[in-house]
Symmetry: C2
Subunit: 418 residues, 2 copies
Amino acid sequence: MDITQYFNAVGQQARAAARRMAQATTGEKNNALANIAAALRANKATILAANEKDLAAGKENGLDAALLDRLALTPERFNDMVEGLEQIQALADPVGEITNLNYRPSGIQVGHMRVPLGVIGIIYESRPNVTIDAAALCLKSGNATILRGGSEAFASNQAIAACVQQGLKEAGLPVAAVQVLETTDRAAVGALITSPEYVDVIVPRGGKSLIERISRDATVPVIKHLDGNCHTFIDEDADLDKAFNVALNAKTHRYGTCNTLETLLVAEAVAADILPRLAEAYQQEGVELRGCEKTRALLGDITAATETDWEEEFLAPILAIRIVANFEEALDHIHQYSSGHSESIITENYTTARRFLREVDSSSVMINASTRFADGFEYGLGAEIGISTDKLHARGPVGLHGLTSQKWVVLGDGHIRQ
Amino acid sequence: MDITQYFNAVGQQARAAARRMAQATTGEKNNALANIAAALRANKATILAANEKDLAAGKENGLDAALLDRLALTPERFNDMVEGLEQIQALADPVGEITNLNYRPSGIQVGHMRVPLGVIGIIYESRPNVTIDAAALCLKSGNATILRGGSEAFASNQAIAACVQQGLKEAGLPVAAVQVLETTDRAAVGALITSPEYVDVIVPRGGKSLIERISRDATVPVIKHLDGNCHTFIDEDADLDKAFNVALNAKTHRYGTCNTLETLLVAEAVAADILPRLAEAYQQEGVELRGCEKTRALLGDITAATETDWEEEFLAPILAIRIVANFEEALDHIHQYSSGHSESIITENYTTARRFLREVDSSSVMINASTRFADGFEYGLGAEIGISTDKLHARGPVGLHGLTSQKWVVLGDGHIRQ
């Protein structure tokens, strides 16, 4: 296969489909989502067989257990995938919404209209359920999409793609609105991220090295999610019961998620009151603690935290703990080490809470709440295509709105500029 | 000068200043703007002398008349520049605005807070008044900025920079909040656009080739403005008097601006009624007409439009005219040739108007209004740092809001994720 030639065809089809999708009615898009769900249910056996094939090949090629787990379409995941489609169908259509339409002194009316971005390229790991999530979000937001899943899920993704295209066709929408690349050649990724003439934005999902590589090489804008090195700060004015519950939940609810607590900061004034009982609870859950000198003096036999520990997203039952002199020192620590994902303060002090909200520059800033809430579903987006740690366009959980932007609309009655 | 070492120092100072600027109160920022205006007035003679020096050097180096004109700080431009500061001072502060703060079923409250982007790098031509415009918009929106003006305006920009820093200092804000690069070495531009550790976004202002080069080489996100190949379509249901006025204004109000009409599309059904009188009016204004075959058959002796004419932003008294069969053909022409800046339709037909608004994918889409309205002042932004033809983040005129983004805020009362 000549990748350049192949990708040019894909890109041209995507551009044409994007124009049609931008005009698709809410009814057409919802019909397509319902049709895709029906097609997936009808072809469950075929899809699971394709997934078995991918799993067998993966085992043969020595994939590790974690990768095989993500690759597997269990019956539960299959059902979640289909239900996800129905949830996205139920969301309000963001496209065409007109806001802030106001008269100007010249007599024209000026407002904003929400519109799709165009063609969205998504590059993700070998998780076949992401194929449907991503396709459905792009479809509902009126975008065309080009999907490039991990090569280990190739057969699964092709089987799912057939259902998506059947669903689009039955709804009278272009099948090219969702294209799953029919090659595992890495050159196709290169073409995808360097073709602004065909692609308006790239959303990479996966490990940090993949995302860094794509961000470095892309000439198309990227909505990216790097680390989630999240902090919780127990202020000297914290309610210590809330502090206990929130700090424990933020670390132990799930270990492998980006919104999990990685470094706990504790004001010196309350450290002796809260840290010993928190440490005991963490240790009961099997969390390894790594502390600063003051923490170790208080808690006794725990590992010394190194510079790397402050910087790292553990994604594991490991927690770094630092005792800070005060609020200012906590802010400085967060400013220096945070990856800009999510940070929370536990405090009853009005002024401190208000300053934290304003002064911490992360995509989610919380008061008296677990960082685990940083999630598109919890925020009411219905679904998310990722969590952005960028500053432009969309910060934090990216849902349907993040896949659109706003153009200006101007209504006149023969108005001319004076 | 070691550019790498110099730029690292600039970048580090900008980062530190950005943190302080994000917390600056509206009062502090307004004081700084007032102080800068006062300093400019007090140092008018020095600044104009510096500008004379730049102009003399420019003449010696054979700059053309247009460049010399843009470089010149006339007394009128000087006054406009100072008044611009006062207008920006009067604008509402976008930073810290909290919107859509709603309770979720979990009990947490989730909303959006508007925050500065951080450090904004602006690369522009030798127009010293842009130094103040750009500095003021970034300052008011709580950002730090690194300015790199054209080398021909070096002395003017340094004299202006001294006033900006005096104004910041008097307001108790870091002088590094606005840094004008103290070198004309092109390597500094390279460093600016490839240092995401110091710079959050680049706004290039200038000719197409400069912007294309920066977009290609930048590893920092770019808010860019490429061409303004703007269209007006006179529909078969147009009020022909409105059509006459709007089409004439859109082309002849000013020739060198990006929102000027470049191609006029006319529905065949009304071409004979409107085109001859419009052509006469254009020709009286000295506009050269280039037409399709049908237009030439109707108007007689005008130049034949080539493919290049449909693609070009003339920025001159030249207009391409095409007679199209109907609305659909007009949409296709716009889809193929538009640069996505601004397009207008003249029609009294409700359905056609509604479709045009929805189906044309440009940063400004208008009904019965001159494309010359596509401007930050006319839209009520107070001022603009440019007009974006990008799809992400900000489309069309970019004012204070375009220099900010939104983070999520979460308020809880000890809430944990179930």
